[in-house]
């Protein structure tokens, strides 16, 4: 059943649940931050409208920097501004930043330990018709391997807004993953959000689904359906991929004995890998990693693509059944 302490949207399982792209929440978060913190600056690589930084640019022109299509420069100018006391939010599509400029992020941001916030919009295959060139499905892996880097993948627009504001308070490099498409608004103002702390949204004891990004909603739908079949599922929103909330995850492994991870990302290197690295060494239990299976995306409507690549409620249910079978065999 739903964790009432998570204060999720009352309309969670209704048809008219509001849908908003997480990039919108980022744009709104920036406006709030702009007022709160004069050191916040925004750098943009010729994508001001689609990354939702336009409103900030109009309100704070002296704190906005248009870089043109130059992502390597975007990262390192960001590093330089941070060295001069600013808190730069560097924005582009995730395939370009952190895709194209990974080494600049590694050396000039992470190894320099400068508090630059890398904002990768249009992540995941749900980018849709633009096709595989613009669908970042490797970004979590790219950012997760970097020392100092904090990696956040919010479940919805409101969580993206909270993450945007919270990131400014930690004096470290951060990566924020955003979606282009509308995703269900599952959280509310009251829903707890703390960087590094995974949240239990659905209580259960037989199995745990650990999801990130827009897959949290699908995990909740799967849990609800499974509950009706008599299977008690825990659902964790793992919005921070690094540092991973090992405590909450190991507790789930111990208490439920089987895990399914779900992410709109390659099965290698993302949330599933992060969870696997922990449980395999500390408390091994059956695990199913659901994500994109070592291939590129393609053009299509977002929902069609999620369906084709197996990021569906049905596939999550299938994953749950698989790990439950493995779990029962172990007993």
């Amino acid at each position: 059943m739903l964790n009432d302490q998570a204060f999720l949207n009352a309309k969670l399982f209704e048809k008219d649940l509001e849908q908003v792209p997480s990039r919108d929440g980022f744009g709104e978060g920036l406006l709030i931050l702009g007022e709160e913190n004069p050191q916040v600056v925004v750098l943009c690589a010729d994508l001001s409208e689609s990354t939702r930084v336009q409103a900030f640019a109009e309100k704070y022109p002296e704190r906005f920097v248009e870089m043109g299509v130059a992502e390597q420069n975007l990262a390192s100018v960001g590093s330089g501004m941070a060295a001069a006391g600013k808190i730069p939010y560097i924005t582009s599509y995730a395939t370009f930043s952190p895709g194209r400029n990974w080494e600049q992020i590694r050396t000039t941001i992470c190894y320099n330990n400068q508090p630059v916030k890398v904002i990768g919009s249009h992540a995941g295959i749900s980018v849709g018709p633009d096709g595989a060139t613009h669908q970042a499905i490797e970004d979590l892996a790219l950012m997760r391997v970097l020392p100092e880097m904090v990696v956040i993948s919010p479940a919805d627009s409101l969580e993206a807004q909270k993450a945007t504001i919270e990131m400014a308070k930690i004096n470290k490099p951060c990566y924020l993953r955003l979606s282009r498409e509308k995703v269900p608004l599952i959280t509310t103002e009251k829903t707890p959000f703390k960087i590094g702390q995974a949240e239990i949204y659905f209580e259960g004891k037989d199995v745990t689904i650990i999801a990130t990004g827009q897959m949290v909603y699908k995990a909740l739908l799967a849990a609800k359906e499974l509950k009706e079949q008599g299977i008690s599922v825990r659902v964790i929103n793992c919005h921070t991929i690094k540092p991973l909330d090992t405590k909450t995850i190991l507790k789930a492994a111990e208490e439920t004995g089987a895990l399914v991870t779900v992410e709109e990302h390659q099965v290698f290197g993302g949330l599933g890998s992060a969870v696997s690295e922990q449980i395999s060494q500390k408390f091994p239990v059956p695990l199913k990693i659901i994500g994109i299976e070592d291939r590129f995306g393609e053009s299509g409507k977002p929902e069609e693509l999620l369906e084709k690549f197996g990021l569906t409620v049905q596939n999550i249910i299938h994953g749950v059944v698989t790990v439950l079978r493995m779990k029962s065999r172990l007993r």
Partner: protein, 285 residues
């Protein structure tokens, strides 16, 4: 600005000591780059002993000028100069490239106070300097940014992204200097990837460009002075230097780009430096 003959002599002597430090450090480390550091010794000396507003006793001083070394591999000259000017004890120079040393093989911000940024991978220093300069301009600060680049990193696309950016934002508080020594690992720059006409390229990108002899202290210092008087553009100084300068058998040889001297070579190099390439008969140190 005119320098007294006495001052120039002092700077020359300091640069010679720094060159000796470089040879000793590289011998001790057993790896590292020789030619670039020797070639840039005069410029580093001029910067830290005359041009930069810095205080080695207060490396975090808010009003300090920022020096960004983009081609981090020449860091032996940076470390030796920083030690000579008083950031840390000279004795620490022999720890270069060793386990636990603050003198990493390529510079690391955070390891050594006074070191503004991490560098090594070529092409991103000018961007970082641009970020500092833009933040400084918008905040109306007095400090200036100096960025040192190699000529080989003019091959990098990232450098030109930054060059465009500096022109657009008219970063007149930024002075970049290219060590035009014409060598890189695989050979001469003009064979590997021709850069000329370099001056005209930067001018076309909106820079004020000067060309100087990178071993002439008066020229080095007056070029940085001139940069301060240009208010509508960033300034680039193309400094013509001799790689391996001061050690006859290294001068102008790209083979010395990325290797250290062995015991015998170091002895010979130190003798040359101590006798100012045979100009004086007895070793002055």
């Amino acid at each position: 600005m005119s320098l007294t003959a006495q001052k120039i002599k002092e700077l020359e002597e300091t640069a010679d000591l720094i060159r000796q430090d470089i040879i000793s450090m590289l011998l001790e480390a057993g790896s590292g780059h020789s030619a670039g550091p020797l070639g840039m010794a005069d410029i580093f000396t001029a910067l830290y002993f005359q041009i930069l507003q810095v205080d080695p006793k207060k490396p975090e001083w808010e009003e300090r000028d920022r020096l960004v070394l983009s081609n981090g591999h020449i860091c032996p000259v940076l470390y030796a100069t920083m030690a000579r000017v008083g950031y840390f004890p000279l004795s620490e120079l022999k720890t270069l490239r060793k386990l636990g040393s603050r003198l990493q093989g390529h510079p690391h911000r955070g390891s050594l106070p006074g070191l503004e940024t991490t560098s090594g991978p070529l092409g991103s220093g000018l961007s970082q300097a641009c970020g500092m300069a833009l933040a400084g301009l918008r905040d109306g600060v007095k400090w200036r940014v100096v960025c040192l680049l190699s000529d080989a990193e003019q091959d990098c696309g990232n450098t030109w992204e930054a060059a465009l950016f500096a022109g657009k934002y008219k970063l007149h508080n930024l002075t970049a200097l290219i060590d035009r020594n014409n060598i890189q690992i695989d050979g001469f720059t003009e064979d590997i990837m021709p850069l000329e006409p370099l001056k005209e390229k930067y001018e076309a990108f909106g820079w004020h460009v000067l060309e100087i002899d990178g071993h002439n202290f008066e020229a080095i210092i007056s070029a940085f002075e001139e940069a301060k008087t240009i208010f509508e553009k960033p300034t680039l100084i193309i400094a013509h230097t001799i790689p391996g300068k001061g050690v006859d058998f290294m001068e102008g040889k790209f083979e010395w780009h990325g290797k250290p001297p062995n015991q015998e070579e170091a002895k010979k190099a130190l003798h040359e430096l101590r006798t100012l390439q045979g100009k004086i008969r007895s070793e002055h140190q």
